[in-house]
Symmetry: C2
Subunit: 331 residues, 2 copies
């Protein structure tokens, strides 16, 4: 399986490390995953026989780009011209126009390449069209790492609950805001809680993605499309962030045995908003954890809890998607 990896940040580097360390993939899954191209904002590198994974990571750390490994290549041209089976799109999420991921994904799909995206921007803005484009071109589009990081929430809902009707779901899908709200429960004011989260590197460079619920809304949109078959995009989400949550709100909830959480819910309509969640509800997790409860027709409500982010966790979800594509294609 020949893979082009576009975006070589924490996730991309973790993926390279993971692939290098997993010498059991061929024996266990009957495929060898070969990175034939890699690109980042500084340039690109390609090699039909497969790039040297350790060299890629080393070069990136030393020079800030993978450019210089293998044969030089322009990342955009590579996606258009290089022979490969799958594009892994791992550039940062952009909720304005989804670029550069949007063009990368569309180029790959139109060429008949499968796509694994951990970039949420293009999916949140255009998932119904992208799924249609993949179907039309007879290829697969996978994005397990966009929701729940390494916690396979999308796969769980789609495959483990096969034969079931999921009627609604609600989730805590952004670890950063959950960390801030957990701090506020311990008595910290919003500003201090935010500063603490920032100092730990939990907050996105553009803090609005976390605080105004954009990240949660993007994940909600992806879930609604994938799990519920809804054809929706981010503007369909009613969205309130956590900037206006006060210590008083948090205390009032605590008196009722609840905690304020930024909940993304899909129950007919789509909404992201800070609401009280009972402490006895398994959904009510603290710190940077993510949690999601699916309610199904016959199996009751089921909750999955796990870490929602992290380079290595997200890289492991990409590997799962690649193996999933391999299995589907091998029939």
């Amino acid at each position: 399986m020949r893979v082009i990896l576009n975006g070589f940040g924490a996730v991309g580097q973790s993926l390279a490390g993971l692939l290098a360390s997993r010498d059991d993939i061929y024996t266990s899954y009957g495929t060898k995953i070969r990175l034939v191209g890699a690109g980042d904002s500084g340039g690109g590198a390609c090699l039909e026989a497969g790039l040297d994974l350790a060299e890629l990571v080393r070069t990136k750390r030393e020079r800030g780009t993978v450019s210089g490994c293998g044969r030089p290549a322009d990342p955009k041209e590579m996606i258009r011209d290089l022979e490969a089976d799958v594009l892994v799109e791992a550039t940062p999420s952009n909720y304005v126009d989804g670029e550069p991921g949007m063009t990368n994904i569309m180029t790959a799909l139109k060429r008949g390449m499968h796509v694994v995206s951990v970039n949420k921007g293009p999916l949140a803005l255009a998932l119904p069209s992208l799924i249609e484009m993949a179907t039309y071109n007879g290829v697969l589009l996978r994005f397990s790492g966009t929701v729940g990081g390494g916690t396979p929430i999308l796969n769980y809902a789609k495959n483990s609950l096969r034969g079931e009707h999921i009627t609604s779901f609600r989730g805590i899908l952004n670890g950063t805001t959950n960390y801030i709200l957990s701090n506020m429960e311990d008595g910290m004011a919003f500003g201090d809680a935010l500063a603490d989260a920032r100092s730990r590197g939990y907050v996105e460079a553009d803090e609005s993605l976390d605080l105004d619920g954009l990240d949660a809304a993007a994940k909600l949109t992806i879930l609604a499309n994938w799990v519920m078959g809804m054809k929706v995009t981010m503007p369909d989400v009613r969205r309130t962030g956590i900037r206006d949550v006060t210590l008083q709100d948090v205390r009032r909830a605590a008196e009722d045995g609840s905690a304020i959480k930024l909940v993304a819910s899909c129950d007919g309509s789509l909404e992201v908003a800070p609401v009280p969640v009972s402490r006895s509800d398994p959904l009510c997790v603290n710190g940077t954890l993510n949690a999601i409860s699916f309610t199904s027709e016959h199996s009751g409500t089921q909750t999955i809890i796990g870490r929602g982010a992290g380079g290595i966790e997200t890289a492991s979800s990409i590997l799962r998607d690649l193996l999933d594509i391999r299995r589907a294609v091998a029939g």
Copy 2:
């Protein structure tokens, strides 16, 4: 897909009801599930064209057996002689010799029939041999409903975490003992908590299955085989039940921010025992809920929480297994 259902208790009746209500199965999954045989301790019924599901349930309720519907048939002979694709084994779990389920499952596998079992006895006592027998005969053996009822724990571990190494897991796998221990946390003595659970119909006729951890140990054995690839049976589990848990133990744990839970753990060795679990651990669920935490190499620890039992929930897991077999066979 022609199915023989052996055992027509709460789960069997729920399955009949579920199949009758789901007229979308053919359009969604490309197969029609036809119950060509049904048996219980009072006798059996068969009909190649498919038994009338409503009549089966009505007859069972009125006469205590399905005997009298369709053509009369002996349940054991039916499994040996009737043309069918899958046996659904739903007689009660027996941890002494696994009968009658053990013979039923072996007969079906040897004939080249796929098997879906919600009966834990034969699996806990002989899963390694039964898996070998299924493989040798080129058929599938599925048992999603044995662990977690309608919560697809086995599938999650096997498929959603595809490409991952699960290194250990621990779970609260018996809702009855968890209900009793939750009551004790609220200050009830063991005897009163047990009486309360009995009055709600939560306790097995043979209460030892719950209280001495046999049910939890059976589920642990099944998980260890299926998820970890261990070849183990129930005698490999070190097992302590909850009869000796005192209110003092529960209070001491509470002072440390923990609760005593009957935890089934697989971390090198297999053990079922009452141990303190921190209240901040997502595993620490109350009431009749089940929970399991899987720790994997790259995706951290993930917890799934759901109802662990119930006729309709377990029936929905059987339907998932049937559709899973259909998909695997259709390639």
